[in-house]
């Protein structure tokens, strides 16, 4: 089931690259006044590459350019339109976030309870519930197809559901040295956020 796929994935896949599409499938209802909720934001897509532990590039290319990158120690967010790089120590930026599942060190069961939830549309899903109650996530779903990472569903505490679907995933690709080294684009403001 999903849990076996995840364990195999975490054990065998030390690095991977591929493309993703991100869709918000459920927007939270606005609070107090019950005003009709937020309109779900549109679809975003891009590509990713990661190498455990703590190195990843998560690049949104459509409909705008937003780059999230970690070199194992530092975490950068580059926004092309705002011409700005926000820099932070990686520290626990990953924490119990879905990024930790893919990119972090692989003691997942330390921070998540796992549960198989079966196959849907050919994808074998498992549910991960963060053990600590103080995270943005209520639950994370991960789906595998023939043992390959296929999708993730991020449920946050406000009822947002973000669906990530992965394609063209390559396991353990050869990555040139310096793949994760971040150099701020010329002219961009670098800010410690």
């Amino acid at each position: 089931g999903g849990i076996d796929d995840l364990k195999a994935f975490v054990a065998q896949v030390h690095s991977a690259k591929g493309d993703f599409v991100q869709r918000q499938v459920n927007a939270p209802k606005a609070p107090a006044s019950g005003v009709q909720g937020f309109r779900p934001s549109g679809t975003q897509s891009g590509n990713f590459v990661f190498a455990r532990p703590g190195k990843f590039i998560w690049a949104y290319t459509k409909p705008y350019d937003q780059l999230l990158q970690a070199d194992g120690e530092n975490f950068y967010v580059y926004d092309k339109d705002l011409n700005q790089v926000t820099h932070r120590k990686l520290g626990n930026v990953l924490g119990a976030s879905p990024a930790a599942i893919l990119f972090g060190s692989n003691d997942i069961e330390k921070s998540f309870d796992l549960r198989d939830v079966g196959v849907k549309d050919g994808i074998d899903w498992l549910e991960m519930t963060p053990k600590s109650k103080d995270t943005q996530f209520q639950q994370v779903g991960i789906g595998f197809k023939d043992g390959m990472l296929a999708a993730m569903e991020l449920h946050d505490v406000f009822g947002n559901v973000t669906l990530l679907t992965f394609t063209n995933v390559v396991k353990n690709p050869s990555l040139p040295a310096g793949t994760f080294k971040f150099t701020p684009p010329k002219g961009a403001d670098v800010i410690d956020g």
């Binding site: 107090a32 309109r39 926000t86 406000f158 947002n160």
Partner: protein, 175 residues
């Protein structure tokens, strides 16, 4: 081009603006000073949902998780943070400053995003003689610079700056 003095828009115009439902999606970067004067920065995605006189702003992480929901209604304001009980106040500015360390000029922004001056105070506007689009607007202690418009004359890129307390906001609108 000389900045022109603007008479506040007529009542009908203000009523028309109040009735509409407006939605924006975008990204923001804010530079502000916290309570003990240290410069801080915040960056993220946001969703703006305006219905009549009630404005909801959702600050989000790039992966779509809500970091805060701010609701500003004519006489009340609400702010929600993950895993925390909602906070209420009469004015949204105080609520945001206490909880987030900075506050957005929500009441002004609703008009500046159109783009237009807010109706109830004086504004100085500089328009581009070539296309009549607003280049810069000064109102309520804010300087708003419009850098980019979409072909349909919607605001794409704008900066807002405030002297005291110092606050600089960069906004890009995707929708």
């Amino acid at each position: 081009c000389a900045p022109t003095q603007v008479r506040p828009p007529s009542a009908e115009q203000t009523a028309a603006t109040a009735r509409t439902q407006v939605d924006y999606d975008g990204r923001f970067a804010i530079k502000y000073n916290d309570q003990n004067g240290t410069e801080r920065n915040a960056y993220g995605n946001f969703t703006w949902h305006q219905q009549g006189d009630t404005i909801n702003i959702e600050l989000k992480s790039p992966l779509g998780q809500t970091l805060a929901i701010i609701e500003s209604a004519p006489s009340s304001a609400t702010l929600q943070l993950p895993n925390k009980p909602p906070q209420f106040a009469a004015k949204v500015d105080d609520l945001m400053r206490d909880a987030l360390g900075f506050s957005l000029p929500v009441s002004g922004l609703r008009y500046w995003l159109e783009p237009a001056p807010a109706p109830d105070s004086k504004a100085t506007i500089e328009t581009d003689p070539h296309n009549g689009r607003i280049k810069q607007l000064e109102q309520d202690g804010w300087t708003v610079d419009y850098y980019e418009y979409t072909p349909e004359n919607n605001v794409k890129r704008m900066n807002l700056s405030h002297e005291n307390p110092p606050l600089a906001i960069r906004l890009v609108l995707d929708r």
